[in-house]
């Protein structure tokens, strides 16, 4: 049975530019269940990482409104002390770049040991070391004893990412956030890391939020998918539905722009224009409107709402009903740029 683990209610994360606040995450509501991988996809600048950082409480100067309900806490309004107790224990995070996420001056064993120590100060040193070695073994590091005394620069990218994962899962978190965990890695290493996360998911019974821009990774890993555009969720569905029957124009455009190793495409679809910057985000009407100008104005809703098309499949705005790719591709060219 589905058990709710994390619930976001009308989350709005805003950053100050000049004297005004601009929302990078705008009115996002979603839930993450136990034993589930929820993927959040979108181009860079869509607010995926801002969303993850809000949950982890890593924004220092942002204004966070709405609720982030996790167990008995509301993380949006939790005190720094509460966050410190949760972070690293119930909440684990895997960062994008394993080299900058690790301390270059500390040996691997101490970096993992630190996380365990901070949340369990009574554990003896010998037991802590034993636990660290177990963790290293769990994430597939071949010689844990040897790696324990190594520094991050002595390891390859894939090994470093395994260490970052070991730190994230050190205290058996209930919620794990993976922010682009494989973007910095090669294809073969990527598949190893993804298999590792899948395996860990089975043992840990944790909920995982996977943030990525790689649709291939989503197809391999996710149970449910939320597509983000310009700070909003535009479509949310389980993974089979989303890839089998994508509805929102943005989702369909993204899927069409990936060069696929399985089949030949003559030309890739190009989404016109670029993701608007935070200051220039359209705050009214359908935010994707400007990038599909061939659709009639009347196709969009004035105040786009999430529509439940089939149970569990939500789409924002009515424009999905009218959307089609431009037939005459030639016309589309060179218009993307001003």
């Amino acid at each position: 049975m589905k058990q709710e683990l994390l619930q976001l209610k009308n989350l709005r994360t805003s950053f100050r530019i000049g004297d005004e606040y601009y929302a990078a995450v705008d009115d996002v509501s979603l839930t993450v269940n136990k034993n589930e991988v929820l993927a959040v996809v979108g181009e860079s600048g869509c607010g995926k990482s801002a969303l993850a950082f809000s949950v982890m409480g890593l924004h220092t100067r942002a204004k966070i409104e709405g609720n982030i309900l996790f167990k008995d806490h509301d993380l949006a309004h939790a005190s720094p002390g509460t966050m410190n107790r949760l972070r690293g224990k119930d909440l684990g995070m895997i960062f994008q770049d394993p080299l900058t996420a690790l301390n270059p001056l500390m040996i691997i064993g101490d970096q993992i040991g630190e996380v365990i120590y901070l949340h369990n100060k009574t554990l003896s040193q010998a037991n802590r070391k034993k636990k660290v070695l177990e963790l290293l073994d769990k994430v597939g590091i071949p010689r844990p004893e040897h790696t324990y005394n190594q520094y991050p620069h002595e390891l390859s990218g894939g090994m470093r990412q395994r260490v970052v994962i070991a730190i994230a899962i050190a205290n058996d978190p209930e919620l794990l956030i993976a922010d682009e965990p494989t973007t910095a890695l090669d294809a073969t290493i990527q598949s190893q890391i993804l298999d590792l996360i899948t395996r860990l998911k089975k043992d840990m019974h944790a909920g995982i939020i996977l943030i990525t821009h790689d649709l291939g990774v989503v197809a391999e890993m996710a149970d449910r998918v939320a597509v983000m555009y310009a700070g909003e969720i535009v479509e949310i569905a389980d993974v089979m539905t989303l890839f089998g029957r994508p509805l929102h124009p943005y989702t369909r455009s993204l899927l069409n722009s990936v060069p696929n190793a399985e089949k030949d495409q003559d030309e890739l679809h190009v989404i016109q224009g670029i993701v608007p910057s935070l200051k220039n985000l359209p705050r009214e009407g359908c935010r994707f409107k400007d990038r599909i100008p061939w659709l009639d104005e009347s196709a969009h809703e004035e105040n786009p709402q999430m529509h439940e098309v089939t149970p569990g499949h939500f789409v924002r705005c009515t424009c999905y009903k009218h959307f089609h790719f431009p037939k005459e591709r030639k016309e589309e060219k060179h218009h993307g740029i001003s």
Binding site: A187, G216, V217, E220, H269
Partner: protein, 310 residues
């Protein structure tokens, strides 16, 4: 005769050590690579980071010192950069990986794109300006962009400024080193489409370096797979993707995430199987130093690095 021919190319970097800074050993970044590119085609070089693909590209254009081997471009030996004629430099251009660091931040777009023109063609200021504007229009940027600075553009637009600079002299060969790795999928599609379009229009030949097999498959006619400075397999796109022979290639192809979630389980099992096969038969495919053997023909287009029989 091949358009570009690389014969047994070797690039070794010395490792200095000891008190006198003597050379103690070499890093064999590229260790005996041979391939040919035909005119108007796209040749893909694939491999993990550190496999020597970028070094190969840079050696061809003369940015790395060549230890041994020969590079022949349109029948002329261009191995020694000091002896090459100016027209080679004009005919071969490069697109760099990172559009954020390959454009001079203090120069206007006009000066960036006009730099190769100033080096090779005698043009008046007005002619030059007109030519740059034409180039920008060709890459889909507005002519007014010439007075802007790189930071005023998005990643995809910057990469197109890089492309405009590369095609300014109407080169015949473009070496594209991971041209889309730093870009988002939608922008990536834009740049790839555009590269294919100008290839048709200008009859360009590409040496396309990438680690992304999806992109490689989309762009290339022929592919060479590199591992630790050597080729493990070479063939047409079809050879490589339909019937990979070398265990390393198989593993690389299996590692591509499948965009169809219904095949997830099948794909994962397949990957596990290939991984086991890789571990078991590693020694059949690599010599005792872990290097690939020399290439043996499997068909007229398809070569695989296997130990010689007997």
């Amino acid at each position: 005769m091949a358009f570009l021919e690389v014969k047994d190319l070797k690039v070794h970097f010395p490792i200095k050590g000891g008190i006198f800074g003597r050379t103690v050993d070499y890093v064999k970044a590229v260790d005996g690579v041979s391939f040919e590119i035909e005119k108007g085609k796209t040749y893909g070089l694939v491999g993990e980071s550190g496999s020597g693909k970028t070094t190969t590209g840079r050696a061809i254009i003369g940015l790395n010192h060549i230890t041994a081997g020969k590079i022949v471009f349109e029948g002329k030996d261009i191995t020694d950069p000091r002896k090459t004629k100016q027209d080679f430099r004009k005919n071969v251009q490069m697109i760099f990986q990172d559009p954020y660091s390959s454009l001079n931040a203090k120069k206007r777009v006009l000066d960036i794109v006009a730099e190769p023109l100033r080096n090779f063609e005698k043009m008046s200021k007005a002619e030059e300006r007109k030519r740059v504007q034409e180039l920008l229009e060709l890459v889909g940027l507005s002519p007014e962009s010439i007075v802007k600075y790189p930071h005023q553009f998005s990643g995809g637009q910057r990469q197109r400024i890089g492309i405009a600079r590369a095609i300014a002299l109407k080169p015949q060969l473009i070496i594209a080193d991971e041209p889309v790795s730093a870009l988002d999928v939608s922008v990536q599609a834009q740049v790839l489409n555009f590269m294919r379009e100008i290839q048709k229009e200008l009859g360009l030949t590409y040496l396309f370096i990438s680690h992304d097999l999806g992109v490689i498959r989309h762009m290339c006619d022929q592919i060479g797979i590199m591992y630790r400075g050597r080729f493990v397999e070479e063939g047409t796109t079809e050879d490589i993707f339909q019937s990979p022979q070398h265990i390393y290639t198989k593993r690389l192809v299996a590692a591509i995430p499948d965009i169809d979630p219904t095949k997830r389980e099948v794909h994962m099992q397949f990957r596990q199987k290939v991984k086991e096969e890789y571990e078991q038969s590693y020694h059949d495919y690599f010599d005792n130093q872990g290097l690939a053997y020399s290439l043996q023909p499997v068909s007229s287009t398809h070569y695989v690095a296997l130990p010689e029989k007997g």
